[in-house]
Amino acid sequence: MAVPTLTSTQRYAAGALLALALRQAQLQQTELLGFSSLPGDNYAVPDRSSSSSRGSNFSGSEADGDSLQLWTHPSRGLLRPVFRFLEIDSKAWPGLEETAGSSDAMHHILAYLKIMVEDDGGSSEKEEQEFALAKSVDFMVMSLETAHSSEETTSELHEENFESSKLSISKLSAIGEEAINRYKNARDREAMMADISLSYPRKVTILFELLSACVADSPQDYEKDSMRRKGYDARHRIALRLLAAWLDVNWTKMEAMEIMVAFSAMAADKEQQQSQKSRSSKGKWVKWKRGGIIGAAALTGGALLAITGGLAAPAIAAGFGALAPTLGVLVPVIGASGFAAVATAAGSVAGSVAVAASFGAAGAGLSGSKMARRIGDIEEFEFIPVGGNHNQGHLAVGILVSGFVFEESDFINPWKAFENNLERYAIQWESKHLIAVSTAIQDWLTSTLTRELMRGGAMMTVLSSLVAALAWPAVLLSATDFIDSKWTIAIDRSDKAGILLAEILLKGLQGNRPVTLLGFSLGARVIFKCLQHLAESGDNEGLVERVVLLGAPVALNSDEWITARKVFIIFC
């Protein structure tokens, strides 16, 4: 069970860093990113240069209440399982939690980073392990990139449909940059990193350990903490993202690590399963292999996981070997030592039973099942896998919602160029009504509107003319009447679809993994409604990691936004 690659002091510091990152991430949550000019939002346009105003905003929005609101609070169940996994002495926990909650957390980061450097075990064996781990992560990144480029070539055909996805990509990356810039601004991180020369392998090891700890859960937590969701919490992911930024480690490397952790955990878990019921499960195994993916949870009634057919080998190292299609050159290059390092670092994940829940029945859950129409009026609601990242152990899910479609393929095509390391699904919903309203808008735009614009000599962009339409004479407005009814229906359906999406997320069909939601037009409204519903139905903060809304037909009523924002972390 031991985590051998870091000394106990380093693990202590690593736990502290995660706690600090978690706290800072929660502070970031209340700040708007890429949305600084929200009209009517008189409560939280943060003064970016000042950390103190950030603090007061926060306390204002999150009620005075109690420190229960803090993500670092024990009742949240976010930190303690990680501490336990890292084998930090339980006596040190309150100190860490309190440190994270205290106001000048940023100063502590420096100290904890320093102790990482100073407390050097000095053993060359450990260094080798760290080095091997870092190397294998690098190769994972490389193989991810090659996998991407091959995907890109196949999808070039759809170039014309890419605009929206390009927009969202640029939006996402802009958010990322802005967030990182803000961290930089918050403190002179550059200077901080300059005098702390943490070796790259060490950084990777730290992050890898923390990731393993976040993904793994100790079974005893479930009984005590009802608030704790199983698996990889969105809040953990965002904290790790922040921590990676502090450590100057590229996020793609984190994503590579996620996959490695997932696979080693899966392999280890499978080994466990096999030894537990060697005979009775034989028949099931065959099924699992044949089916490729299935919701194992449903089959066995426990927190098992869905595994790809290629992953049948029991040993951890073999589990990595099975990654071959993705990993390509990895095996021969890093060799056994690399695997061993990964295995030792992640090995103890296996010790915890529930790790499986993280990546659970995902594939099958989302794409396989057409949703039962639990909420009336919704005629169509279906998850469609997009891109090639499915069942490859990705620890994060992206759900993409279109809202302006002319044909069914428009639900998927806009997202084809959206390349990142998420396991992506598009939602196809209410195509009949969406196509109707989209077509109506198109017709309207191409007829009356454009003619009028030509005559007026105002060749503005379509977008700005839509705005201008508000001030137009009544004669022209009548032309919009026939859009109205279709629009109303579509709005109604999008609200219902949003609630449906929220229920799906609540049921954990995505497999207890952090979810990124992207949507445009009416799709953005679906997401907004989904977030609202999540916020209203209790403590669901750990589900949704990031959200991007493009052109959402939602009133800018700040109250509603505040409710919705409670449930996720980075917002646009």
Binding site: E62, L70, L110, A111
Partner: protein, 209 residues
């Protein structure tokens, strides 16, 4: 003085106190005695420990946030970040171990000068383990002289026998209450549970880029 009062959220002032000193001098034991009136064998502190105690003093309700730091050398860098914003610092030594007393001037007093952000911060020198009178190697006189030289309060106590433990904290807190600049820091704005507002004296807020 009722420990159960610690759950009560309302208080007039919040003071941050810090305990420093060599490993094994009894910082954690002192704190345990003060907060829960107990005494037991403790293993060395890892990093930092934190305890809260509500007290009523001078007609005010006070919340004391007491940080108990690890004395071990390997945590030295870590503890340095906890000096920031502390209104009171308790330096502890073991009256039976002369080296722990020597180290106060060699190490700990320098640490305070280096890391404390608070000019007016109240310092207190505490000689622990006076129950082991026969093994004493640091006389009370030496303690008083040291305290005079560094301008701090002084007491000798024993966490084991409870002698003077309450007085240690009380004297320190009373002194803080007499210092207007510290009082201002501990009141009002800091009251909010998220404690997000850095103390006004925090220079780093202004130096942000």
């Amino acid at each position: 003085m009722d420990p159960s009062a610690s759950s009560q959220p309302e208080f007039d002032y919040l003071f941050k106190l810090l305990m420093i000193g060599d490993s094994g001098v009894g910082k954690s034991s002192l704190l345990l005695r003060f907060t829960s009136d107990a005494f037991e064998d403790l293993s060395p502190t890892i990093g930092v420990d934190f305890k809260v105690k509500m007290v009523a003093m001078g007609g005010k309700k006070l919340k004391l946030a007491i940080w108990d730091t690890a004395g071990q050398e390997r945590f030295r860098t870590l503890t340095s970040s906890y000096y920031r914003g502390a209104q009171g610092i308790i330096m502890v030594y073991d009256v039976t171990r002369r080296d722990t007393f020597i180290n106060l001037s060699n190490v700990w007093a320098k640490e305070i000068d280096l890391y404390s952000t608070n000019q007016d911060c109240i310092k207190m020198l505490v000689g622990n383990k006076v129950d082991k009178e026969s093994e004493r190697t640091v006389s009370k006189k030496e303690g008083i002289d040291f305290a005079r030289e560094y301008g701090c309060l002084f007491l000798e106590c024993s966490a084991k026998t409870r002698v003077n433990v309450q007085q240690c904290f009380e004297e320190l807190v009373l002194k803080i209450l007499e210092t207007p600049s510290l009082l201002a820091e501990g009141s009002a704005g800091v009251k909010n549970i998220f404690r997000q507002k850095p103390p006004p004296a925090d220079a780093s807020t202004g130096s942000c880029c």
